[in-house]
């Protein structure tokens, strides 16, 4: 695993905007898509990442089973809102399919990849990983390989959903370029899979007393939402969603995995697993430096690095009301002063590829840069 400094394509901005429709390559004036560097892996390293990803996904599915078996107590520890318990258990019992997820891994190229967290419900950085870095490789060195068949696997995965010709609405919040870009990319793959699709902003979804409706008052019976379950269920229309009038992707059981308390339950289920870091809801159970993460949080907000109870580093934010999980600190290796986090994708619960975000800070946030990779 090496970090290489490379020459960017001279016209890359115009190219990715025009030919790929990639508009959020620069966020808040700062570079987000960064092709002045890339990471090189060996085939053995990629195999290790793929195997760890498959193993983590199986453990996570095992955890869902365990949580649903143990019922209330586990739901409470995970801070899953009570109103959603029946929907979570029901969607698992009905074996509702899931589309995707992203494991964030710390990896140095030699030790086992370690799970930092699992973005099971609303992962992004998808289009960059699936399409933009693939396009970069094809343009710069097409003879090389990349751990990335995300695009093909997404198109295949849509066949798993039993939509019976129902139109699938793709939904994200208004005025957020990255969320809308990701959602529109997923809709693109669904169109290619032959699905009927439309899109609607989360804020525009209507309720006519019996069913959800779009802006033309047509019924919405199938919904892909890039909007967290734990928010949906606590908002005004949440009770309608939980009544099951619409099929929802991701399914409700992803709530078991999309909160960070799941990290503690994973460690309880598989203590000392080489791909896990010690994690607990009790800070006293974790020896040495620890990272405190809100049970519900997004984009690296409200994370604290603690050393003997003292705050060494932290990120701002408005999360943390539901409590925190404490995870043993692992030093994310630095490459030229940058800390890469491997975002390893599962599509339909199968390993599908990786995308790398690196940051000069040890806590990856939504301002980290996305950098491409290849392996040989």
């Amino acid at each position: 695993m090496k970090r290489e400094t490379i020459a960017p394509r001279p016209d890359w901005r115009a190219h990715v905007e025009r030919d790929l429709g990639f508009q959020f390559h620069t966020i808040g004036g700062a570079l987000y898509w960064d092709e002045t560097v890339c990471y090189r892996f060996t085939a053995e390293q990629i195999d290790a990442l793929e195997a760890a990803t498959a193993e983590l996904e199986q453990m996570c599915l095992g955890l869902v089973d365990r949580v649903i078996d143990s019922g209330e107590e586990a739901f409470e520890r995970l801070r899953i809102p009570r109103v959603a318990w029946d929907a979570v258990a029901g969607s698992w019992a009905a074996q509702e399919k899931n589309l995707y997820g992203r494991f964030d891994l710390a990896y140095d190229g030699a030790s086992p990849p370690r799970l930092l967290e699992y973005n099971a419900d609303t992962p992004t950085a998808l289009f960059e990983a699936a399409v933009v870095q693939w396009d970069w490789l094809q343009a710069t060195s097409p003879e090389r390989d990349q751990f990335n068949s995300i695009h093909e696997k997404l198109i295949e995965a849509w066949a798993n959903f039993d939509l019976r010709g129902e139109r699938l609405y793709f939904s994200a919040v208004k005025a957020h370029a990255e969320d809308n870009g990701t959602t529109e990319y997923l809709r693109d793959t669904a169109v290619q899979a032959g699905l009927l699709t439309d899109r609607i902003a989360v804020e525009d979804i209507g309720w006519d007393g019996r069913q959800f409706v779009d802006l033309d008052n047509n019924p919405i019976r199938a919904l892909f939402k890039l909007y967290p379950w734990e928010w949906l269920v606590q908002e005004e229309f949440g009770v309608h969603l939980l009544s099951g009038v619409a099929k929802v992707i991701e399914p409700a059981w992803k709530m078991v995995l999309s909160n960070k308390a799941a990290l503690a339950l994973l460690w309880e289920m598989a203590p000392n697993h080489p791909n896990l870091l010690p994690a607990s809801l009790d800070p006293n159970a974790i020896a040495g430096k620890q990272v405190r993460k809100p049970i519900y949080s997004r984009e690296g907000a409200n994370v604290q690095l603690l050393d003997a109870g003292r705050v060494v580093a932290e990120t701002p934010g408005a999360y943390g009301a539901e409590g925190f999980v404490y995870q043993a600190h692992t030093q994310i290796p630095a490459f030229d002063g940058n800390h890469p986090v491997i975002g390893s994708w599962v599509v339909a619960s199968q390993p599908a590829g990786i995308g790398i975000r690196e940051d000069v800070n040890a806590i990856t946030s939504d301002t980290s840069r996305f950098v491409p990779h290849y392996f040989e």
């Binding site: 030919d19 429709g21 992004t124 289009f127 990319y185 979804i205 606590q234 392996f375």
Partner: protein
């Protein structure tokens, strides 16, 4: 090989455009969708409707979204709803078939008229400067009829019941 063999995009990228909900540049409130000039004539009379049909055709030729491949066009507008045309340079491209027009009387005297295409599932899609608006449906029950495309003021439909948390956290929703 662990990389995708090929990637094509149906919606994103160069030739694509996106359907949008009604918003800026949408049709005025009194505008109606007509599949046939004679349906229009019953409402507005022959001459204005013939004028609108000619104008819609002209606008269509200038503003219609153009695609390099038939499947790109059909991904947006549905199978069988696209036609091929010759470009001035001798190549060919694909664009949606003109299937009707939206017409209305705007305040201030200028008549509103814009081309309408058939979209997926028989939906009627209005083109206004390249932005697309769902304005109703073709089909046995609704062909040629005026089709409401905005909820009325007295609509019993509630909206805004989702999205509050994102605003409260002042962030996007994804991670």
């Amino acid at each position: 090989m662990k990389k995708s063999h090929s990637i094509k995009l149906a919606l994103l990228g160069g030739a694509s455009m996106a359907l949008t909900a009604c918003g800026d540049d949408g049709p005025p409130d009194d505008a109606r969708f007509f599949a046939e000039t004679k349906e229009c004539a019953a409402v507005y009379g022959d001459a204005p409707c013939t004028d609108a049909a000619v104008k819609a055709e002209e606008t269509h030729l200038v503003q219609a979204p153009k695609f390099a491949r038939q499947e790109q066009c059909e991904a947006e507008f549905g199978a069988g709803n696209c036609e091929t045309r010759q470009s001035a340079g001798g190549g060919s491209f694909f664009m949606p078939l003109l299937m009707g027009y939206m017409m209305g009387n705007m305040l201030g005297g200028n008549r509103f008229s814009q081309p309408v295409y058939r979209g997926p599932d028989g939906s009627a899609v209005m083109n206004n400067n390249g932005r697309m608006f769902n304005v109703g449906n073709f089909g046995a029950q609704t062909a040629g009829r005026t089709t409401s495309f905005r909820p009325s003021q007295a609509s019993p439909i509630a909206r805004g019941g989702f999205g509050g948390s994102s605003a409260a956290f002042n962030s996007g929703a994804a991670s």
